[in-house]
Symmetry: C2
Amino acid sequence: MTIQAKRSATIEDVARHAGVSRAAVSKVLRDAYGVSDAMRARVEASIAELDYRPKASARAMRGSSYTLGFEIPSIHNHFFPKIITGAMTELAHSPYQLIIAPAGPDHDQGPQAIEVLADRQVDGIVAISSRVPQPWLEELGRATPLVMIGRHQPSVSYDTLCGDDLAGAALAVRHLYELGHRRIVHVTLAESRVDTSPDTPHGMRVLGYERVMTELGLSPEYVRTSPEHASAADGGQELVKQAVLEFLRTADGPVGIFAAHDELALGALEAIAELGLTPGQASVVGYDDTDIAAHPKMSMSSINQSGTQMGVIAVRLLLERIAGRTESVHEVVAPKLMARGSSAAPEPRAPRAADVPSAHPTE
Amino acid sequence: MTIQAKRSATIEDVARHAGVSRAAVSKVLRDAYGVSDAMRARVEASIAELDYRPKASARAMRGSSYTLGFEIPSIHNHFFPKIITGAMTELAHSPYQLIIAPAGPDHDQGPQAIEVLADRQVDGIVAISSRVPQPWLEELGRATPLVMIGRHQPSVSYDTLCGDDLAGAALAVRHLYELGHRRIVHVTLAESRVDTSPDTPHGMRVLGYERVMTELGLSPEYVRTSPEHASAADGGQELVKQAVLEFLRTADGPVGIFAAHDELALGALEAIAELGLTPGQASVVGYDDTDIAAHPKMSMSSINQSGTQMGVIAVRLLLERIAGRTESVHEVVAPKLMARGSSAAPEPRAPRAADVPSAHPTE
DNA sequence: CTGAAAGCGCTTACAG
DNA sequence: CTGAAAGCGCTTACAG
């Protein structure tokens, strides 16, 4: 038995089989106006018999590809699957399909992944890349329906959707403060990766952190991962751990740690575990409330920004744009604090003051 | 300022701008044989100036789309990102792009996600869907270069790549046995979701489990999640937890739990945490060694099957097929046991026998 | 309601 | 080395 390359059925085959024109088949396919029931039945029968499936690439050349593209910056961050889940749910009974283009580890080098989608002639794009320059996006938005997640800067040619990162950072810091912490550090990405413009989620979280710290009369303090963080094979976990480890070794009193996202928070928890510190000695609050945060073994406090809901909203906005809307919409989702075991009232470090309640600043 | 839809440059525009034929531009694009240096330079300058990017859909109609499609069964299982990471690394300096089609929650209904990729005219497909019938795949394989991950059944028209699930299951069970466990249950998917044919990873793990248990003179015992597991919004975590909870409530002695993958293992650990059991009272070994398993707070024993390496191999096989290979290749990757804190020597349950070493069957 | 024809943006033989 | 022409599989006005 020799293996023979199979040629799959085309619209032409279906038309011939059903004894109608290609245009007729096309209309049935798209459920377009103006086909008799008889013809529809014949065509549908032929489609089924020949196991015909229209090629998306051919369709894309004239009309739409019925494909929506999602660009996600990192395959390692468990927040993004939440967004995808929401999007898929919303798309379930629509004619649209979803494809994902993950940004490579070298997504510094430019708008790559998002271009892959544009090149694929998708009908619309949802992107979560915060590092692409605005003018470039404005241009893309004029060519393709586009929804950007995590962009705070409003735009004219595309929609934006983001969490209220200022409020989220405030929730985290105030939570730690109310527990009694007075030394609260922010673990975030390397400076080169947090745009100085407050247009990125991480930029906004830094801003929010600074503001609340100032309001509370505390001084901001940062632990940053190295720029190589993003390209590390493990998603940078090890680098974060090292950075936090270094910080914790020099710190002596109890500290509150506000991590800019849960992956960073996991790294912090690793460092804390390695030093054998208690949640009171080093409290952690993450961001995104990824699935693992709620696991009893992890019990990590985190800021929830409704990732699933974001996916749903993003798809709705995109579908509206595809349907013709041209004015930009800018949605903001309110964050919620999920307080769990990783954050606790401050406890002193060192001489293992077992049960003796210790004196720590209460105001 | 009104927003004006942008038409992006075509090969025609470039040809005109450079004063050459479209064919010439096409050749430069594909780095094909037979272009003078002068022409190449002119064309490249025009491409840069017009910011031209070839449309993948148009290319796909005649030649290749330079796109490889990955189908992943669940966006919730953290094993798959490992595979994707490996694939992306391997593809980094190739002309190929990667797109991912996630299977919807209703991926019972047929080969959907994988068809999305085929419809998209990708140059080749790597799929991890084990539930698609073999004949269907054989047919797809004749139309498109195809690599299936996790299929044990050899095929004529596509390549396969899988972990040695029999060996992996044996590693897990023997590990628990050597720790001293004599009651060892297997937590796996609903029977309807583990094909009866030993063609799926989970089917093979069941088989491996049964064999070793028999060899060891122990009787197999299953905890299965309900069929709704796969379509649950949280990836089924809650359902697994409930199932394990139920089992642990009726069990009285120490038990070893071999979970068919880490997500199931996480659910088991949740149940164990909820009952306040120690690793000795309920030991867990997962499968896949996802990132979180190694986290000190989780410290979950697991079977590592080199997901990243699998991604690398899958891409290599696919690229070979695209380059013309037609004989099928079937690769098997050896699993490794990663023993961690979640599995320990048996301890009795109930009357909280604090430090007193208890009598439990040693042989 | 139905179909013939043009065209989307590329690549591929085929001449020159 | 270079280009004119055909064609990939669809959809879209436009006639009938």
